[in-house]
Structures are given as C-alpha cells and as structure tokens.
C-alpha cells in the first residue's frame, strides 16, 4: 500500500511548526533568561481561548446567528464551517485578527507572570507556574461561556476552508511553517541583540548585571511577555489546526514536551531547539495509531500508544540530563559583528604577519 504523503506531510509540518514556536519561546525564557516557565501550557491555552472565542463569535454574528441553533454544539459548528467555506475574506481576516489578539493577550498575561518571577526563582517559580497552568485548565473546563467547558467549543474553521479538500490542510501547513520560520529568525535576532546579551547576563549573575546598572526585573518582565506572546500564537495556530477549543487538551504534558525539546536539543541554542522540536514531532507521530495506519502498518497493540510517547519523553529527559547535560548542540557564544571580527583575529593569517618592529 502506497503511503499517502499528501495527507501525512501537511499534518506533520503543522505539528512541527506549532511545537517549534512553543519550544523557541521556552528556550528564550529558560535558556537565555533563566526563567523556568513550566506553566508554558497556560500561555498556550490563553492564545487558544482568545483565538477560539473571537473566531467563533464573529463568524456566528456574520452568519446571522440563528437563534434556534445551539452555538456551542455540532449544528452551530456546521454553520460556521459552511460560512467560512463561502467567505474566504472573512475567515482569513479573522485568522489574522485572532493571531494578533492572541499575541497581545498572551504577552499581557505573560507580563503578569513576571510578578511571581520577581519574588521566586528556580524550582519554586517552576512549581507556581505548573500550578497556574493546571488552575487555567480547571477553570477552562468548568467555565462554559469561555470555551464550552468539558465538551469544548467546536467549529473553528481552517482559514483555508474555501480551498478544495486536502489543499486547505497543505496551505495551512505552509502558512504555519512560514510563521514558525519567522519566529525562529526573530528568536535568533533577539538572542544575539544587546537585549539577548542582557538576558544571558541576568541568567548567569543577576547581582553582577544589576551592579552594571541593568534593570533585571524589567528585562524579566519583557522576556516573559515576549515568550508568552509567542506561546499564545502557537496556541492560536493549534486551535485553527484541530478546529476546536478543548480545555482538557491543555495538560501539563504540553509544557513538559516543550521542556524536553529544549533540553534535548541544547539549552540556549536555537538550532538545538529546532532539532529537538523535529525529533519530538516525529516521536509524537510515530506513537499515534492514525499515523501508523497511514504508513500502512497494521498493528493493534494491547495498550494505548500514547503511553509509549510519554515513556519516551520521560526517558529522553532523564538520559539527556544524566549523560549529555548540554543537549545535542551546546550553547555557543553570541553571534555579533564584533564577535565575528574578534574570532577572525585568531586565524593563522594574522599570526603570519611580519612582526612589528618596536624599536
């Protein structure tokens, strides 16, 4: 049986793009600034709720909001999907607005997370943020007006729903990859900028950075806002990918997956994060029955394949920390023009120059 790549590849690419953005944001916060944001999933879910709530409600209003159809349930979702299929401009515009709104709201919430980050550090900050993430999930699944509570909020159309079947997924995958590539370039530029070096100095020695007149609390607030905004964009992209908002998707394991990608690839190394995200995306896909079926493997294990994924995640965390604490790609010095010039001085060409006569 031929493997159906036209179906598999777009899904793989979309997942990879979303994971990459999430991992990059964690790498900026933890790898560069030393803020262990293990509540990553909270900021991811903020973006998801924002995008889901805005898109469904505006589409509902545009579609005429029939009073006799349930907004939260399948018939309502079908109306939204049908409207999106016949109005490309509306859904694309809503997608852009949702993404921007997710970024802004995520950044604002992330800035609030700087409040605990200024009082706590290391393990205590991590525990508080994990608790915040779980509290967000509990709230989301109980407060129905937000996203339908335990049943979720269906009917967030693919922004390319107006394209023929399959082409919509492919187009969306390309868009997500483009956004992820943009985020990657942004992260690299940011971490090599003076601000990125400031973050590293705070991570390595906050007292010394303060002595040099650097405003450490402000920088922490800024990087948490940036990282959370990125995570929220990833959440919004996820919602348009799975086409629904479902509170119980936002479990702590999402945060831990981002952590795994970063420590596997190498802390404070964006190339490493790229490798880690690619590897974890593959692990994710190989351990889903649907994708095994697409690959033509007909295997019915007596257990849930998800267990294998989580087991592998745990093994990666433990093995990397024990045997390769710096990750696959170790941290490198910042890449600035001055640094490049300084490194070129060490080349033999300069050594071979005739010695200067000092007499």
């Amino acid at each position: 049986m031929a493997v159906d790549f036209s179906f598999l590849l777009p899904l793989l690419a979309t997942s990879f793009g979303i994971y990459l953005i999430l991992a990059l944001s964690f790498n900026l916060e933890y790898g560069y600034a030393g803020q262990p944001n293990l509540g990553k999933v909270f900021f991811y879910s903020v973006g998801a709720y924002a995008a889901g709530a805005i898109t469904t409600r505006v589409l509902w209003a545009l579609a005429g909001a029939p009073a006799n159809v349930a907004f939260m349930q399948a018939p309502g979702a079908a109306i939204r999907q049908a409207f999106a299929r016949s109005n490309p401009g509306a859904i694309l515009g809503l997608f852009v607005v949702s993404l921007l709104a997710a970024a802004v709201i995520g950044a604002a919430v992330g800035y609030l997370a700087a409040y605990p980050a200024l009082r706590l550090r290391g393990d205590f900050l991590a525990i508080v943020l994990i608790a915040v993430g779980e509290a967000g999930r509990v709230f989301g699944r109980n407060y129905e007006p937000l996203a339908g509570g335990v049943f979720g909020l269906p009917g967030v159309p693919n922004p390319f729903a107006w394209l023929p079947a399959r082409a919509d997924y492919a187009a969306y995958a390309i868009l997500v990859l483009a956004i992820a590539a943009g985020m990657y370039l942004f992260a690299v530029r940011l971490s090599n900028s003076p601000f990125g070096r400031l973050l590293k100095s705070i991570r390595d020695d906050e007292l010394a950075a303060s002595v040099y007149g650097k405003d450490a609390p402000r920088a922490k607030g800024h990087i948490l806002a940036i990282g959370s905004g990125m995570a929220a964009v990833a959440g919004a992209l996820y919602v348009f990918y799975v086409q629904q908002v479902y509170a119980d998707d936002f479990i702590p394991l999402i945060s831990f997956a981002a952590v795994t990608m970063v420590i596997l690839g190498g802390v404070a190394n964006h190339k490493g994060t790229l490798v880690g995200a690619a590897f974890m995306t593959l692990v994710d896909f190989v351990t889903r029955p649907v994708f095994l079926a697409i690959l033509g493997i007909n295997w019915q294990p007596p257990f849930d394949l998800n267990y294998v994924r989580y087991l592998v995640t745990g093994l990666i965390i433990v093995l990397v920390l024990l045997f390769r604490p710096k990750g696959l790609l170790a941290e490198r010095p910042v890449d600035t023009v001055a640094m490049r010039v300084a490194q070129s001085w060490k080349t033999p060409a300069t050594v071979d120059e005739p010695a200067r006569d000092d007499s």
């Binding site: 915040v132 509290a135 709230f139 267990y307």
Partner: protein
C-alpha cells in the same frame, strides 16, 4: 451546620494527604529535590496493595482469617515495593545528578522525567491484563457491631477505612517524631536538611542516611496509596492526579517542616471538603472547582509567605493583617 460525615471524610483525606506529603517534605529537606516522581510512589503502592488482595483471590472471606493475612500482606508489600522504587529512582537518577551539583530546578525536571517513566511503564505493564482501573478485593465497608447494626458516631457511619487509616497516620506521625528526636539516623537526617556539608564533615554517613530517607519517603507514599485505593478505584494516573495537593500540603507547611506538613495535610483536606461546601452554600461556587483550592493555596503561599505556616504565631498573624489593612487605608480614603 457541619455534616458529621463530611467531617469524617475531611479527617480521612487530611490524614492521607499528611501521610503522603511527609515523604515529599523529607526528600525536599534532605535531598533538595521537589520530587514530581513522588506521585508515582503513591500509585505503585496502591497498585501493589490492590493486586495483592486480588492475588489472594478466593482465600479472602470478609471477617475470616484469610482477610487479615491479605490486608497485612497488602499494606506491608505496598510499603516495601514503593520504598524500593523510590530508592531505585534516587540511586539511578537523582544521586548521580546531585553529585554533579545539579540545581534543585534540574532535579525537578529530572523528577518529571522519572515520574513519566514510572507512570507509563506501569500503564504498559498493567494494560494487557485489564488493570488500567483496579479495585482491591477488600473494599471500604461498614464496621458491624456484634448486634448487627453499623458502628456510627453522631449518625455518621465509621468505615473500616476510617478506623484503619486515621490511627495509622497518627501512629506513624508519633513514630517519626521519635525517629527525628531520639535516634542517630533521624538526627542525621535533620542535620543533612539544615546543612549538607557540615553534616558530612561532622562524620554523618550521608549516603546511607540519604538511602534511608528515600526508602522512608517512598514507603510512606506507598502506604498512603494503599489506603487511598480502598477509598476510590485506582488508575496509573491516580498519584499524578493528587500530586499538586501533596505539594500544597507540603508547601503550606514550609516545604521542610515535619509538623508543618502534618498540619498542611489536614488544612488541605479540610479546605477541599468543608471549604468547597462552604463556598458552594455561601457563594454558589460549583463543586467542580474543587481542584482549584489546592492550586490557589500553592500560588498564594509562595507569593505571600514562602516559609508557609511554620513559625506563624497569633501575634504575627494579627500584625500581618493590621499591616495589610493599613496599606489599604490610603487607597480607600482616596476612593
């Protein structure tokens, strides 16, 4: 009016939280690990206990001698197996990292990995045998008086679980108190908790005491799990589901305090049962928000008073409240 049955449930849950959270506090104090794998020791203990009672099978007739043997074996093995898993996780992962001077944060991340490994290895092991949800053969039951009616206090029935778990917890707390104050090994643990290097220089065998700490922490968690699974059927995720509650209890107690953790366990247990009832009756808060209580406790304690309730005197409490009210007054006057 407080329902007596609610009160019993709060005391039961509180004492189980205290029992399980004590191990969390121990490993944080002695080994400096906020151990997220602690949840799995609870699960492992619970599964061991349940599977032992199932293995006894037909030999168990309630009230017969087989039942007593099965109960003793179940609880003893729950302690031993969970203790062994805890020791193994330290020997293989935490101690090698600790030797390399890993920070508490690295150890926390490692413990998340260890937790994932134990939890899903257990899931993979039990799934083919249909034990993803497991109920022990000895369940929660009413205690029958010789006359045939159920034992009850103030109209609320006293179950065998209640009669077993609460005295056990109090006994263990008393035994641990003696251990920490009267024995060399307990004093060694306290010395390591307050200053590791000084303890080592003073000639305390830190490696052995560390091993003992892990055995004790895992065993207590396993014992708590064994009681827990009598109350509700277990799944491989059961420990993970209450881990943040145990953290809440431990953190409320200051994260390194023995009596603080015991008190924290009961406070969390009561807040979660009586507290949510009060919120429901008073403010119409839905019972489904129950999990929020422990999470809010964690966040608030860390932000307001990271040392928890330890050392909090009435005078200081009143002083704190006064200080905060005084800080609010200018704002109110402006408004």
């Amino acid at each position: 009016m407080v329902d007596v049955a609610d009160l019993f449930q709060s005391v039961l849950i509180g004492s189980l939280y205290a029992l399980m959270a004590l191990g969390l506090t121990l490993t944080y104090a002695v080994a400096k690990i906020p151990n997220f794998a602690h949840a799995e020791y609870v699960t492992v203990g619970a599964y061991t206990a349940a599977l032992v009672t199932i293995a006894f099978g037909g030999a168990i007739t309630l009230g017969g001698s087989g039942a007593a043997a099965a109960i003793v074996a179940a609880f003893a093995l729950a302690f031993v197996v969970a203790a062994a898993i805890a020791l193994l996780s330290d020997e293989l992962v935490f101690r090698p990292l600790f030797r390399r001077a890993a920070t508490s944060l690295h150890l926390l991340v490692a413990s998340i990995g260890v937790g994932l490994i134990i939890r899903y290895a257990l899931s993979l092991l039990v799934a083919p045998y249909d034990f993803l949800v497991v109920t022990p053969r000895i369940g929660k039951d009413l205690i029958r008086l010789p006359g045939g009616e159920a034992l009850a206090v103030a109209g609320a029935p006293v179950t065998n679980l209640l009669a077993g778990a609460i005295p056990t917890t109090f006994g263990i707390v008393a035994a641990l108190y003696l251990l920490f104050t009267r024995t060399r090994i307990g004093k060694g643990m306290r010395a390591m908790a307050s200053n590791f290097d000084l303890a080592r220089v003073a000639g305390i065998k830190t490696t052995n005491i560390r091993r003992f700490t892990w055995l004790l922490a895992g065993g207590l968690a396993g014992l708590g799990g064994a009681f827990w699974i009598v109350d509700v059927p277990g799944t491989p995720e059961m420990g993970w589901g209450i881990l943040l509650w145990l953290f809440a209890a431990s953190i409320l107690g200051g994260f390194t305090s023995f009596w603080g953790t015991v008190a924290g366990g009961f406070i969390v247990g009561f807040a979660e049962n009586l507290g949510i009832s009060a919120l429901h009756d008073g403010f119409g808060v839905s019972f489904s928000y129950r999990p929020m209580i422990a999470l809010v406790i964690i966040v608030l304690v860390f932000l307001i008073r990271p040392q928890g309730i330890t050392g909090l005197t009435t005078g200081e409490l009143v002083g704190q409240i006064r200080k905060r009210l005084a800080a609010l007054r200018p704002m109110l006057e402006r408004a």
